[in-house]
């Protein structure tokens, strides 16, 4: 069937610069560029271009540019190009629209409506170049109180297990199969070096990654792919995945094409079979079932590991989170509206869930109202872009943040939203061995460690400016935040004052 969808991009090739080296032909995994030997000319099939810039970055003579195809439709606010083209795609395929990455719609990014405080006169700012500045964060259940033996003056009630983060940023769940093994190696090495954690996602743990266990969170999702006793005990944290910000209420989808021999071995499923996680966990139909799974996992890991429960941010997230804490979760992970995915139905990604800022503020406030905030750490995810977002998240009440997309961008991702195609030209979200080798774990981990180091330095500057020298004094300290351009209700939910007040 002839497609009626026009190309999204225009590939501009400067003939004066092009040396017909064919790097672009080799780099493009979407078959845009091709070489005509007869004419000694490189050509482009622009219909295939996704705007990932792989060819532009690797062109040795800077001969390439990718421009948006500004093809104009007659203006119509309701029938904007995306609406028209989505219908065309479905008319041509008869299927559900699939997409990758997180929500790309213009919903309000609340981080951009929150401003941070700094010290002037009445208290001094602290210079992180000259004074100690602490970002260390311990995740895990904290007791209601410390008990000290009056005679020996030692600790009477042993602390529940805690995990230490040198920087309050962890790598989000990205499963083997969705991303390549080289990406997971990059994440695992970087987490180990930076003193934080990476998350296996729901695809099991490849044998070569077990040495990074001290910095690993292993996930248990509804498909139970790759879950066995050794796996559960391989990391420091076991995360029960209930939901994902990009697709609340929907299970994971790994197309059979991505299930290679290694993926098959790790996931414990036949080669080439689709790995479709059920939408719910079929042993969790209610909150008491969650408690049973939490304690089943605690039993399986001898109460030495933390149990995290991850949900998508949905409307009544505060009440749900409260139930999760009472079900015994040591970590509550919440993934917001802008959380990413390797593959999700577009209609779900674009329309379901709430922004993480609001979910975080509501959950932190509710857990404090119920005086159970100490019983679980709060980790948030979903669109964190920089250290400013992190500082704001911590001040709203998060213990730490997960980054997924930001970590992949550090590895080369340009957020072109083709994760679901398995053709990622940057070699990130693919299992095509010709592409996966584009990520070198040595270099990948260096890029990730650099990113975390840069953010850590910036966080220290932010803290110092506020006159604070330990992250725990910013955590939940909403007096250091002010809202700009927000309604009274939004301010109320965020628990912050407007600027100037």
């Amino acid at each position: 069937m002839k497609t009626f969808i026009p190309s999204k991009f225009i590939v501009e090739r400067d003939p004066a610069r092009c040396i017909q080296c064919q790097v672009c032909v080799n780099q493009c995994s979407f078959a845009v560029n091709s070489y005509d030997a007869a004419d000694n000319e490189v050509m482009a099939d622009e219909n295939n271009c996704v705007g990932c810039h792989r060819c532009v970055v690797f062109c040795p003579t800077n001969a390439l540019n990718i421009r948006k195809n500004t093809l104009d439709y007659r203006e119509n606010y309701n029938w904007r190009p995306e609406a028209i083209e989505d219908i065309l795609k479905q008319a041509e395929t008869g299927g559900m629209l699939l997409t990758g990455m997180g929500n790309d719609k213009g919903y309000k990014v609340y981080w951009d409506h929150i401003l941070l405080n700094a010290s002037q006169v009445t208290n001094p700012s602290i210079d992180p170049l000259r004074e100690p500045m602490e970002l260390v964060t311990y995740l895990g259940r904290k007791p209601d109180r410390v008990e000290i033996d009056p005679v020996t003056h030692t600790l009477k009630n042993a602390m529940p297990p805690q995990v230490k983060l040198n920087v309050p940023v962890m790598f989000s769940a990205m499963s083997y199969g969705a991303v390549s093994l080289n990406v997971q190696h990059s994440l695992a090495r970087a987490a180990t070096e930076a003193g934080t954690f990476w998350n296996t996602g729901e695809g099991g743990l490849h044998a070569s990654l077990y040495p990074y266990g001290d910095h690993t969170i292993v996930q248990v999702a509804s498909g139970r792919f790759g879950v066995h006793s050794k796996y559960l005990n391989a990391g420091q944290v076991v995360e029960i995945k209930i939901g994902q910000g990009a697709k609340p209420g929907i299970g994971g989808h790994l197309p059979g094409e991505k299930v290679t021999a290694e993926v098959s071995r790790t996931r414990m499923i036949p080669i080439g079979s689709d790995a479709l996680s059920p939408a719910p966990q079929h042993d969790i139909y209610s909150i008491e079932d969650l408690a049973q799974l939490v304690y089943a996992l605690k039993e399986a890991t001898g109460y030495r590991k933390l149990i995290s429960v991850k949900i998508a941010a949905v409307h009544n997230v505060a009440a749900i989170a409260s139930g999760m804490v009472r079900a015994g979760a040591d970590i509550i992970a919440i993934d917001g509206l802008r959380g990413s995915t390797g593959a999700a139905p577009k209609v779900i990604r674009d329309n379901v869930g709430i922004p993480i800022e609001m979910a975080l503020a509501a959950v932190d406030a509710r857990l404090r109202q119920e005086n159970i905030r100490n019983q679980a750490s709060l980790v948030i995810a979903g669109g964190i872009r920089n250290s400013g977002d992190i500082a704001k998240a911590i001040a709203l009440g998060a213990d730490a943040v997960y980054i997924g997309t930001a970590a992949l961008i550090a590895l080369g991702c340009t957020a072109c939203q083709q994760c679901h195609t398995g053709k990622c030209a940057w070699g990130i979200c693919t299992s095509d061995l010709a592409l996966t080798k584009r990520i070198n774990p040595e270099i990948g981990s260096r890029r990730l460690v650099n990113l975390l180091r840069g953010w850590a330095i910036e966080l220290k500057d932010i803290l110092g400016g506020m006159g604070i020298n330990a992250l725990e004094s910013l955590r939940g300290n909403r007096l250091h935040l002010r809202g700009i351009g927000l309604s009274d209700n939004e301010l109320k939910i965020l628990g912050i004052r407007p600027v100037g007040d």
């Binding site: 208290n123 600790l155 604070i468 725990e472 004094s473 955590r475 939940g476 007096l479």
Partner: protein, 383 residues
């Protein structure tokens, strides 16, 4: 006091910021002495205040009534007094009551009526509540629910005197040279954003705990949110109130030894904890992990006192001044050395404590100043 927020914090700021002079002196042998010396010492630091608040705490003050709770109450109206006294008579056995003697001074304007009551808990009213818990709750009742009345001192054998004015004026106004105690602390206030209100002066008190404080707590937002989980209602939005409640939570409600206060308020750095012996590491880490929300961050110097003990503490990187000195059995703590020398020119040791290190004087433990050599070394290093 009907809406303390409006009185203490008219601009509805996040919190009330103030800077100050603080002074404490304690005879660790328990010998009582008059308030004349401390009035002179705090008066020496007049430039550190702005005349919008001064106050004193005295321990060993009422030896004849040592077993009774001594409540100091300020009234802005006769009706408040009538109402409060009816309430006190219902909840307590009233042992004695008198108006606190004052000396009229031109500098002291519009003073409230200040009364003193010696009380014994009415066990029938208290039910299963312990005496201390009952007293705390009733103090909260009066301060929040009864109009024009404010309890600013509620411990045994101790008392707080405070008001609007320079501290030396407040001392003269309350005739403190006529009282004796073994431990005195004092405070001169420099509020930046609140008009002076008598209840807003330091020391802050709950039971026999008092706090005088110089500083701004940048962690106030989370300190307050944490305490709110335990039912503490921060009516005055001052840093110092939060500190007083935090001490109450740690020591009275959680039963922790007094020396853990400094390990929570000015917790050692994680790196320093890692260098301690394993058993100590375990304790310090547990305290910091559990009470991280009570870490006081930002510049502060505190003098905390309760029956038989006085503790001076600065923030972890000592952003506000504290000088300690000893002479015989007497321990001095002061914002400035000059104030100590004003009343005791010859001192046996004078030193500037390391940031976050508590300096304690106690009736039970003999005073143990650092050796003269290390004092000189530390002193020189700091200059």
């Amino acid at each position: 006091m009907q809406d303390l927020r409006k009185i203490q914090n008219p601009y509805n700021s996040d919190k009330v910021i103030d800077a100050c002079s603080i002074f404490g002196m304690m005879d660790t042998s328990g010998q009582r002495f008059s308030g004349a010396a401390i009035i002179k010492a705090i008066g020496n630091m007049r430039v550190r205040g702005n005349g919008l608040g001064g106050g004193f705490a005295v321990y060993g003050l009422y030896p004849d009534y040592a077993e009774y709770y001594a409540m100091h109450v300020m009234y802005l109206s006769r009706e408040g007094k009538t109402e409060t006294e009816a309430f006190l008579k219902e909840k307590f056995h009233l042992v004695d009551a008198d108006e606190i003697k004052t000396r009229p001074l031109a500098a002291i304007k519009d003073p409230p009526l200040v009364w003193r009551y010696f009380l014994k808990v009415n066990r029938y009213q208290a039910g299963i509540q312990a005496d201390d818990d009952f007293v705390v709750d009733r103090v909260m009742d009066i301060n929040i629910k009864i109009r024009d009345s404010f309890v600013f001192s509620s411990g045994k054998d101790m008392g707080v005197f405070k008001g609007v004015g320079y501290p030396e004026e407040i001392g003269q106004y309350f005739r403190l040279e006529e009282y004796e105690g073994y431990l005195w602390t004092s405070h001169g206030r420099y509020p930046t954003n609140s008009r002076g209100w008598w209840g807003g002066a330091h020391p802050f008190n709950i039971l026999d705990w008092t706090v005088v404080h110089n500083g701004e707590i940048s962690s106030y937002g989370i300190n307050r949110r944490y305490l709110e989980q335990y039912g503490y209602i921060c009516t005055m939005e001052t840093d110092t109130e939060v500190i007083a409640y935090a001490i109450d939570l740690l020591v009275r409600k959680h039963g922790l030894p007094v020396d853990t206060i400094s390990q929570v308020f000015a917790a050692p750095f994680w790196d320093d904890i890692d260098r301690k012996p394993p058993v100590e590491q375990e304790l310090l880490r547990a305290l910091r992990q559990t009470y991280g929300s009570l870490l006081l961050n930002g510049p502060f110097t505190l003098i905390i006192a309760h029956a038989g003990e006085m503790i001076g503490l600065t923030d972890r990187i000592r952003l506000r001044p504290l000088t300690a000195a000893t002479k015989g059995k007497v321990l001095f703590l002061s914002s400035e050395e000059a104030a100590i020398r004003t009343i005791s020119p010859q001192l046996e040791s004078v030193w500037i404590p390391v940031g976050g290190e508590p300096i304690a004087g106690s009736l039970k433990i003999p005073l143990n100043p650092p050796s003269p050599v290390s004092v000189v070394a530390a002193y020189k290093m700091d200059r």
